[in-house]
Symmetry: C2
Subunit: 797 residues, 2 copies
């Protein structure tokens, strides 16, 4: 503790006493959730049968979290603040549950857990009980937008919530365990992207609780000077609240919180009076380091072991009260130390003078509408996407960059929604050819700006394009932004979207619970991921930049919440993007490349095609009014072009061959309708893919994914998938296609091999196709580029 700082005592004796009692009530409930299945108010002596059969839950960080919540209530009431709270420490739900229960919000949502002795008993019982209440701040938790089951994302979620919410203060409690993760460690730099004029404030509270599961934490074990330097270096003004004596700590915390709120308001006022021109000076936002003992106010020791202030307080501090009399006594003493009889009235309700400490209505942290973002969400004002259509008079004869076109649409989406739409990208917005967006808004940047920065997308505090070289931070911001009811799109290199695999998993799980099980949670905007700089055009960047496997991760998540689209051209991309921006409660994954690609469908056809999600392209098929000999299917831009080129080759070689061309935009169409709401019925699938003809499927990603989705289809044994076979290097696009077998020649050869009546008669043709492969490879290897014939290939019709 910094003892040179004078110790102000802003709390009057009564106020302090009641705040401490409210805090003790929180702590009592937290401990009760972990231990009790009956006798919730300890109206009788504690007996083994009152103890839960299975003791689950995490005590360690609860008192520290409740401490902060109690103090937040004070400033919310005093100043009529708009505050939400994000609980970063793992398994810290008892604190937030207790607080929301004491605020009355919990019982409003879950009337079976009312503010009565019986309701409290039920809350206790259901906590960490099968089918009951989770030990993280799950979607079921009032006031939560951050579950915290996986650590590392609290602070980026907090910043995401604060963007474009000028009135909001997001308090983010960060566990010192969580603070060791990479995503958290870099998310401190989010302060370079927060505009005090336009955005709300984030108040990080680093909880130096001292221990993780079984180890001390790094930040709790470095000298004070290093800790202070670290947060100064991150650009904050750190305040320290350190100690273990409740009375002193209450005064310290109250004083510190007053200072921090004053600073926040001063920063905002300064920026807002200056009319938003804050480029000149990035503010040093306050943050708080709260150093308190792990398991504060819990048992000090048990036998020879220290508990309070050690890792032993992390989970259940006393493990065996049901079977060990000494333990039972200790648990009872601990629980009674909070004086439940002085905190709750006869009916089991918090006494009136403590209830009065909580804010009212939606000012309660647990009832703040920002934490149920769907309730505040407004639909985007979208321009007509058809207005951005690329002219396609003949299919497959012109080249356009799909993301370039999308950028123009997004530019106008942004212009119409300047406080509720943002685009995110890891320093790749320009690389991914979404540059048109900069015409609507520059890049957010609160760090130093120099003259030459004007050259290229402009940097300013007012920018709405978010670029930081951290996929974790961007994804966290976007999750926080959408969970508080706003809209966005995150564009990233395909290979490196794997960086956020785990964040995607966690967000999908959140959406599923919220959507399926919680009627009180309003639908939130979907999280839109644009995956670009795709494998097939990462030929020049090499093997490390070639990984289309994110789709496998996505298909493992619940069909209720995930969607995958592979628009083959710019008009389809526009149609898909419009659909995704309107949708709610999904993760939409859009796979579209940035390079110039062939355009296939005019806008009307594109809309029809994307609405169906899968369909026969008559213009590319030769089986009209006939049963096909073979189905050529494709999903993805380059695979579609190669598949068409193969069809053209085959048409030249075998004019009588009946080829049906099928293109897939909505990948889940391939699944049975019993397994996915977008799935095709068996009859519809069979009518497209036949029940017995060979299907050559040219796929964007790893081939096995198509098998994973179609293995139950009638004709599955005849579906032969070409896709990325994990082969790459520095290549040309054609070479990369050839070594993985998705090129036109390999496809044509496969058709010849699979269509019975071509066997034998096609041998000579196969030979010529193999020669062509070699000829084109030779050219690429001598010139370093693909031949014009390949690069500028067009459908001859």
């Amino acid at each position: 503790m910094d003892d040179t700082r004078p110790q102000p005592t802003p709390l009057q004796a009564d106020e302090l006493r009641n705040m401490d009692r409210f805090w003790r009530a929180c702590n009592y409930l937290s401990a009760g959730m972990i231990y009790l299945r009956a006798n919730p108010l300890l109206r009788e002596p504690l007996k083994p049968e009152h103890i839960k059969r299975r003791l689950l839950g995490h005590w360690g960080s609860d008192p520290g979290q409740s401490f902060v919540l109690v103090h937040l209530n004070r400033v919310i009431k005093q100043r009529d603040l708009n505050v939400i709270f994000i609980s970063g420490p793992g398994h810290g739900a008892p604190a937030t549950l207790a607080h929301s229960y004491l605020e009355g919000r919990y019982s409003e949502i879950y009337p079976d857990r009312g503010e009565t002795e019986e309701g409290m008993a039920r809350l206790f019982k259901l906590f960490s009980f099968p089918g009951g209440i989770g030990s993280h701040c799950t979607p079921e938790t009032p006031g939560s937008i951050h579950e915290g089951g996986e650590l590392g994302y609290s602070l980026s979620h907090g910043y995401g919530a604060a963007f474009d919410n000028p009135d909001l203060i997001v308090t983010v409690m960060i566990g010192d365990g969580e603070a060791e993760t990479g995503p958290l460690a870099t998310s401190w730099h989010s302060n370079k992207f927060l505009n005090p004029a336009r955005d709300g404030a984030v108040l990080p509270v680093l909880h130096l609780n001292g221990y993780k599961i079984a180890n001390p934490t790094i930040l709790a074990r470095i000298p004070h000077e290093e800790l202070e330097a670290l947060f100064t270096g991150y650009g904050y003004k750190p305040w320290f609240v350190e100690g273990d004596e409740p009375e002193k700590m209450h005064q310290q915390m109250a004083a510190t919180l007053d200072e921090c709120i004053d600073e926040i308001r001063a920063i905002q006022q300064r920026a807002r009076q200056e009319g938003g021109n804050v480029d000149a000076q990035r503010p040093r936002w306050p943050m708080i380091v709260l150093r308190s003992p792990k398991g504060w106010t819990g048992p000090r020791e048990f036998g020879a072991h220290k508990i309070e202030g050690s890792w032993r307080a992390h989970q259940v501090p006393i493990a065996d009260p049901a079977t060990n009399g000494k333990s039972l006594k200790l648990v009872e003493e601990w629980l009674r130390s909070y004086g439940p009889e002085t905190l709750f009235d006869e009916s089991g309700r918090l006494v009136a003078e403590l209830r009065a400490l909580a804010p009212e209505g939606p000012r309660r942290i647990s009832a703040n509408l920002h934490a149920n973002g769907g309730a505040l969400c407004k639909a985007l004002d979208l321009p007509d996407f058809a207005g951005y259509a690329v002219d396609v008079s003949q299919p497959a004869t012109s080249y356009v960059s799909p993301t370039d076109v999308l950028g123009q649409f997004l530019r106008d989406v942004m212009r119409r929604n300047m406080t509720s739409f943002r685009v995110f990208g890891p320093d790749e917005t320009a690389s991914n050819k979404l540059t048109a967006i900069y015409e609507a808004s520059g890049k957010t940047w609160l760090a130093q700006i120099v003259e030459s920065d004007r050259d290229g997308g402009e940097l300013s505090a007012d920018g709405r394009v978010m670029e930081m070289l951290s996929e974790h931070t961007l994804e966290g911001w976007l999750e926080g932004y959408t969970l508080t009811g706003r809209h966005g799109l995150f564009a990233t290199y395909e290979a490196f979207v794997h960086v956020i695999d785990s964040m995607f998993n966690q967000h999908a799980k959140w959406l599923e619970k919220a959507k399926r099980e919680l009627r009180w949670r309003q639908p939130v905007p979907s999280l839109n991921l644009l995956i670009t700089s795709l494998v097939w055009r990462q030929d020049h960047n090499g093997f490390t930049h070639q990984d289309p496997g994110f789709l496998d991760v996505v298909t493992n998540k619940s069909p209720d919440v995930v969607r995958i689209y592979l628009p083959p051209d710019a008009n389809c991309l526009l149609s898909v993007a419009d659909h995704c921006l309107r949708s709610r409660d999904y993760v939409n994954v859009i796979v579209a490349d940035k390079q110039p690609h062939l355009q296939y469908l005019d806008m009307k056809s594109a809309i029809t095609h994307c609405t169906k999600g899968i369909g026969i392209w008559d213009w590319a098929s030769t089986d009209l009014d006939h049963e096909p000999d073979v189905v050529m299917a494709s999903a993805g831009d380059i695979p579609t072009m190669e598949a068409l080129a193969a069809v053209e080759i085959l048409k030249g070689l075998f004019p009588d061959l009946k080829i049906r061309f099928v293109n897939v935009v909505d990948l889940f169409r391939l699944m049975p309708d019993s397994d996915h709401p977008h799935g095709l019925s068996g009859r519809d699938f069979d009518s497209l893919f036949t029940t017995d003809k060979p299907v050559i499927f040219n796929f964007h990603s790893y081939p096995s994914l198509v098998h994973k989705l179609t293995y139950r289809r009638t004709n599955h044994a005849n579906i032969h998938v070409h896709g990325y076979a994990e082969k790459g290097n520095i290549n040309t696009p054609l070479e990369l296609a050839i070594i993985n077998g998705i090129d036109r020649f390999s496809l044509a050869i496969d058709v010849i091999d699979r269509v019975h009546r071509l066997r034998g008669v096609g041998d000579h043709a196969k030979e010529r196709l193999r020669d062509q492969k070699i000829r084109h490879l030779d050219y690429a290897h001598s010139e370093g580029i693909d031949s014009e014939e390949i690069r500028d290939w067009k459908w001859a019709g």
Copy 2:
């Protein structure tokens, strides 16, 4: 620049001049690689036909990197140092390639790119050319252990290389773009895990190059005081080398490097003289901040655009010299500014006085054996794993924690290999029940230690168990450790291994290239991942902790380098672990839970079973000498138990039913032998799974993965997989099994449904099984735990 610091000038005029020339030679080669396909020494005027057809490569960070390399050479020679260099900035290969070429090492490995004009021309041509040389520090790059295709891992790789290499200095060049990533931001804290007595040193050089692809970097745009505070806060002593005048910068860098090496040696000497007791005081290791212009020494501007010192220098600074005379002239001027005719002799070889600047033999950074770790690798001294066997007199009648047993084996592995084996875990070694390891060695910890830390696995500078709450850092350390020839194992919660999906992808790609294409790279120890705290026992931790999908990511990588094992019990786990610790050049993924589980096989049977990787368990089968009615298959511990329990139920219901029980340890056995070296032939697969009988497969992970691996098998249409269906909450283990359908009752019902002759006759049994499910769920929901009957179920035989 800190102008208050006096500016020493350690370099004599001649030395400075030659070092500058060597640097210019590096820069010349870097630029040459990007632009030239002929006329490599500019012996004739530059013409369009000398320019590559496709300009690829990244100029921006090359001069800064070469600058550091030139200065490293000086101190290596002067002090006979053992130094490797890790290149963090993306696409920075031209610098390291140039340096290794000038050191002669490149031509030793690739004689077709010799130290002649012709060799240089070939080097230039092949760079970023199809089938040629990558633009990252790929495995093909001499001296590299870090490709840097994906950003964020340079520093953790560097620390991994330094552990247990007391003599080694690992210089890690960190791009200021990379520094924004989460993994990099937390890896600075690795200094709390480096023991100066026993480990080598890491010298980070943060390259404040100023710009990423299209944006300034955060760290280049915060005030000097913040930057200094940040690294002080991270626990380093930062040195600043800032400027753009080569002469001054050389003197500054030389002086700074001298100081840093002096500090490193002083820290090490102090620690080593004190006999390794460094617990008392964590050293403040030096680090360097090098602020130099992006594209330093390149063209200053082009038209109205600033190039040097801007993001426009990131990649190819002048885009069109082949078609634009003005551009061609500028490129020629730029290249000639280095004076190639003064740097290379008639034959094209670096002139002798510059060659003399490079160290010799394996002291060359590009030839250092630590960067070809297999060359230094010694096999582990392994105790006989059979000595740790669990006694299994009757299959499936006793419960043991598999990881607890493994911990005992690993303890002794560690004891026998105290300088070449480490265990890594994100604060979960104890939670994952590997606590026996602490008997061999405590946990590495160089931060503050307090008295109560003795309570639990001991913390000390000498510990060899690495625990930090960052999966990224741990994985990075282990990759660095194995790539430099040492051995290790990383144990982590199953759900959160997704955090390192992308790191896994990148490491697998590295291994594949090194193994398949580079004979000069010696095999390195496999990277062993123990995935534990498995989905089926994360019932109490809830939905966020349930994600077995990492295996899907793994199966997308090359069969040459990935292995997946699901040992069903402790003895199998021992056998598998022994196998993995002996192996080279793989990523081995071992899936084994930490909870007490039924034990099935005695050691002898376990060895046989694991050697085969898949097999029939006769003792659990009822089809002896008969064709089975049904095959019950399993992979994973809990799925195996439930499958056995189902068999027992079915035996009771239908004594005549012929059930074959198959267990899978080595998951890739399921694949065709044409697709994976571990794959079973069609005949072997069919002999196990039949060609027409129903197969009920109870699987650890998502069911579709089994289909992905088996879709080409004869009997695939009859394989019915039960696995995780993305359904979870706070549950009991049985409840979790039931809602996902992997429980004994659901399996038995499925058998009744699938076996023709049971249809109808089994209806009553199905009814009873459904009742049993409900009864057990009711018990769990009232008591919060599973009934003893379920929890303590044993095979009755």
